[in-house]
């Protein structure tokens, strides 16, 4: 049989090149298929639902920080106190996510944190809290990157005279959605009888010089002087 040196065998060289190219293509295709099958969309981790639950739960907990801020604000806390609540609260929620294999970074910009507690003589009175929280989670099984706007305001408003009685309305606006608060407690000084009508209306005989106090869920207080 005739011996041929590889350096002189052009066909052999082309074949070798082709083999190497095909091998590289095969490796690339296999790696791509492997990556696709490992994607959390195609092959979710066994506890994928639970991870989403932890994320959802954390969003609820951040929303609850709004209620802490509103409550403390209504009890006389300063802006600095509210910032401390946000710092401590977000740090603890971040630690909770980290402990559940969801390495996370939760931040907010205090420039975008707005608080307001209206005067007690201008109808309606309100208490307002607004903040943007940036949430970044980067784990093998869940990637989440988002800025969420929390915007909550509680109102107390009195009606004009309707029939023999007046109404005090309690309502909440969260991210533009208005809901009536039917489990508040309304008290009037000097002592006046108040009836909770169960739909966010509280009927009472209102008169000038009275002070209306409303206790809302999460220990949030509002005052209105008539």
């Amino acid at each position: 049989m005739k011996k041929v040196s590889l350096t002189k065998n052009k066909r052999g060289q082309v074949f070798l090149l082709l083999s190497i190219t095909i091998l590289i293509f095969l490796i690339i295709i296999s790696a791509t298929i492997f990556q696709i099958t490992q994607s959390p969309y195609i092959n979710p981790a066994p506890n994928q639902h639970q991870l989403y639950d932890y994320l959802d739960n954390s969003l609820n907990a951040i929303d609850d920080l709004s209620n802490v801020a509103l409550s403390q604000l209504s009890l006389g806390a300063s802006r600095n106190d509210v910032l401390t609540i946000m710092d401590e609260g977000l740090e603890l929620i971040e630690a909770y996510l980290d402990d559940h294999n969801l390495p996370s970074i939760l931040t907010y910009d205090d420039v975008n944190l707005i608080i307001a507690n209206s005067s007690t003589a201008l109808n309606p009175v309100y208490i307002h809290f607004e903040v943007e929280v940036s949430i970044h989670i980067n784990s093998l099984d869940l990637y989440y990157d988002s800025v969420i706007h929390f915007n909550t305001t509680y109102y107390m408003e009195t009606s004009g005279i309707i029939g023999n009685l007046n109404y005090v309305y309690l309502y909440k606006e969260a991210n533009g959605v208005k809901t009536m608060v039917n489990n508040g407690i309304v008290a009037i000084s000097p002592s006046t009888s108040v009836t909770n009508l169960g739909d966010g209306r509280y009927s009472a005989d209102l008169a000038s010089g009275q002070l209306i106090t409303a206790l809302l869920p999460h220990n949030i207080w509002l005052w209105l002087e008539i």
């Binding site: 298929i33 639970q50 639950d53 209620n67 802490v68 603890l92 929620i93 909770y96 949030i220």
Partner: protein
């Protein structure tokens, strides 16, 4: 230049290339089929129902109301909230479902004494653990984790 019909080596090379491509396609298809066929079977999952129940209790201020009552030793309220929590969690479990839970203060990392529910029950080895965080208790920053275990009796 030789015509392709007369060049045997070129013909063989093309046939080999076709065979190689066909083998590759068959292998990739086989891999895909095997992967589909070996997916773990879908098991009945009551974890989601339990989570939904917890979230609903949280939105109704029951979870923080309960721990507020425990921290302030309000016996009547503790009984009331325990009943509400039990109804919600048992309602989200199959008939043979059981659970126990306790609260942990996230700041001190200590169990909140008196927060246990169904402490006397021993979870089965198949019990599922669910954690739920609440950050606010009656308008104050008191972050707690609820450690809940759910399982099915006789499984």
């Amino acid at each position: 230049m030789k015509k392709l019909t007369k060049n045997r080596k070129a013909q063989l090379f093309i046939i080999e290339a076709f065979i190689a491509v066909s083998v590759m396609i068959i292998m990739v298809t086989a891999l895909y089929e095997v992967q589909i066929a070996t997916q773990p079977p879908i098991e009945a999952n009551y974890q989601e129902e339990v989570y939904t129940a917890l979230k609903s209790l949280d939105n109704q201020n029951v979870l923080d109301g309960y721990i507020y009552s425990v921290l302030n030793s309000q016996t009547a309220n503790i009984t009331y909230y325990r009943t509400v929590i039990e109804q919600a969690i048992y309602g989200s479990l199959p008939d043979n479902g059981e659970f126990n839970l306790y609260y942990e203060n996230l700041v001190t990392s200590l169990e909140i004494s008196g927060s246990w529910m169904n402490q006397h029950l021993t979870p089965s080895t198949e019990a599922i653990g669910i954690d739920y965080i609440i950050s606010e208790v009656n308008g104050e920053l008191i972050p707690c984790t609820i450690h809940l275990k759910v399982w099915l009796k006789g499984v």
